[in-house]
């Protein structure tokens, strides 16, 4: 099931395969792979964009190299924390990042996230595939995205649109 729209060229695309418990996100960026790769691996850059806007993010560890591990938390206004952790299976500069991912609210759940960076000549296409361990888990993840969408609302998105254009 694919959701695409005829919006600007950089719009995010999502594909949830009915036959495999995967979610594939594709997005293009107006920056070369070297720079996009840094934004994915350097914690002081990662903290600026990863995670829902309404939550504060704290990175406890972000050792983006082969065998390195990471842990970060998103914090609600009332102090509630949501932890995430995993290890970097492979970090291949400017090309590919393979890591495990666990949301600590579901401690037995783990997904394998593969990000690839494709050079489009000064621009970069990023493809992130999440392979989860069951269809139920995948569907729960998609459903959680709906929750975020409701809470953050379209106003936020409009803000960002005017900020970044």
């Amino acid at each position: 099931m694919r959701s695409t729209t005829t919006e600007p060229r950089n719009e995010t695309q999502i594909a949830a395969d009915p036959a495999l418990p995967t979610i594939v996100i594709t997005r293009e960026f107006d920056a070369p792979p070297e720079r996009v790769f840094r934004a994915f691996t350097e914690p002081d850059l990662v903290i600026q964009w990863l995670g829902p806007r309404r939550l504060t993010m704290r990175i406890e560890e972000y050792d983006a190299r082969n065998g390195g591990s990471y842990r970060y938390v998103h914090i609600e206004d009332d102090g509630t924390e949501y932890g995430f952790h995993g290890v970097f299976h492979e970090v291949r500069p400017t090309e590919r990042i393979v890591q495990t991912f666990t949301f600590e609210g579901v401690p037995d759940g783990v997904s394998l996230e593969t990000a690839t960076f494709e050079d489009l000549g000064g621009r970069t296409r990023v493809t992130i595939q999440s392979l989860v361990d069951s269809f139920e888990a995948r569907d729960a993840i998609v459903a959680s995205g709906m929750g975020d969408g409701v809470r953050e609302g379209y106003e936020r998105l409009d803000d960002l649109l005017s900020e970044n254009k």
Binding site: S3, T12, L45, A64, L157
Partner: protein
């Protein structure tokens, strides 16, 4: 649509024959006999697939006399599309912040530590 329902829809569509049945019903209502024609399987097997699709709320069998044609519930697909669209927008929201980060990096390329030294 709750989590369980979404799961049932996704698993119902995990089977290629069922996906094909859905694609054909999208063109119009059809009876079990018509649906079974192109497949090298028994009527019973097709009925079984239809039961799964019915259980997921994707297909409804009307009480139209003896024919009981199968009807595709298009609104379920609309709901799924909406659901995925919300997820897509959450990701897009993140990536628009990443756009801004990448822009700033352009202005100050020395920002940030080197990968090898990250979080050590």
């Amino acid at each position: 649509m709750n989590d369980d329902r979404l799961s049932r829809v996704f698993s119902a569509l995990a089977d290629p024959t069922r996906r094909d049945i859905v694609a054909r019903l999208a063109a119009g209502d059809a009876t079990v006999n018509t649906l079974a024609e192109p497949y090298d399987v028994t009527l019973q097997a097709v009925s079984k697939h239809l039961k799964v699709l019915e259980g997921a709320g994707l297909v409804r069998r009307t009480r139209d006399a003896q024919r009981r044609p199968c009807h595709l519930e298009a609104d379920v697909f609309d709901l799924m599309t909406k659901w995925i669209e919300r997820y897509r927008r959450a990701a897009e929201d993140r990536f628009r912040r990443l756009d801004a980060v990448l822009d700033q990096m352009d202005d100050s390329p020395a920002a940030g530590s080197r990968t090898e030294g990250a979080a050590s």
